[in-house]
Amino acid sequence: MKASRGRILKGIAGIAALLLAWQVSVPLVGLEPYLYPSPLRVWAAFVDLMQKGILPVYLVDSLGRYAAGTACGVVLGVGLGILIGIDATASRILGPFISFMFAIVEVAWIPIFVIWWGYGLKTILMVIAYVSFFPVLYNTIVGMRTVPAVMVNAARSLGAGRLEVLTEVMIPAALPNIITGFRVGSGFAFRGMIFAEIIAAKTGVGYLIFEGATNQQTDRTMVGMFVIGLTWLFIDHVYVKPVEQVTIERWRTVTRADERE
């Protein structure tokens, strides 16, 4: 408990020292505020954006898109990952196509999505889903393929059918990998959302960053950057990490591939 409190205090002290150094450096550097705003100026911009109702609305918009897009990406990633993980034919057919698509960064897709669906929600959701899809997919495939054969054989010897082996043995055994994929994918989805909002939205924290830079309101841009970082810290710490912890504690049944028979 004491050690934990000590770590937190050290972390706070580190952040405070960094902010102080930043504040002190502003007059020394002597640049215009729109080029290099002070932390106090950024704080004032944050308060202004909150009072004017802009930041809460943008944040809620962003979080809604993020949740919907990530959910689509995760569902698709887990579904296809299970299929490819258990079926050699599906793996041979879909594998090269997925590897090909994986190499195309999401930013390259945004202009195409804009042509197909225009500026707005559909394009942003597609980008977020696309970004979160691949980490979930690959981790699910790895999870399915590293289920110890002895467990599958044991279940079959006890009379389990294919569906039971899949739902009672393989998917639970792959869950730690799936959750790891979810954690990585949901982090990437946040980045994808910012890219998409910069290009294809008129609201959202990504749009705030872009709009601030366009209007030389660098303090607002920095507010957007801090809000993104802090929001992800919150989501990761409060929701993603506990789910990962529970899953790993409950289903820590994965062994390395070389331990398989």
Binding site: Q51, K52, G53, I54
Partner: protein, 109 residues
């Protein structure tokens, strides 16, 4: 009772839900109070000419949303003059804490 790692997400979710419910109730009551004058003058009409007074000069964000309510005829400092504004949409807009008041407008410029 849920213990262990899921306790934190559960408690945070409950806190967020309570805050959201309280916020919704408070902003609804505030919107009703701000709309009282408009409701008195145009109780039966779905559309009304209104003046929105914000707590500050409107930015693009506030203007864009105001344009969804009706025809923004002019702005004057913190005031936005709207013609043929949808009253239900104006009520939604009036929920925002930065909307100071909503008054009926006789339409004269």
């Amino acid at each position: 009772m849920i213990v262990g790692p899921l306790r934190l997400p559960l408690l945070v979710s409950i806190a967020i839900a309570i805050f959201a419910a309280g916020w919704t109730a408070w902003t609804s009551a505030e919107a009703a109070r701000k709309m009282a004058a408009v409701d008195r003058t145009a109780a039966a009409a779905p559309m009304a000419d209104v003046v929105l007074t914000l707590k500050f000069a409107p930015e693009a964000f506030h203007m864009t949303r105001a344009q969804e309510l009706g025809q923004v005829v002019k702005t004057d400092g913190r005031r936005l003059y709207l013609r043929s504004a949808d009253r239900s949409l104006v009520r939604e807009y009036a929920r925002a804490p930065w909307v100071e008041r909503v008054d009926p407008w006789d339409g004269r410029q």
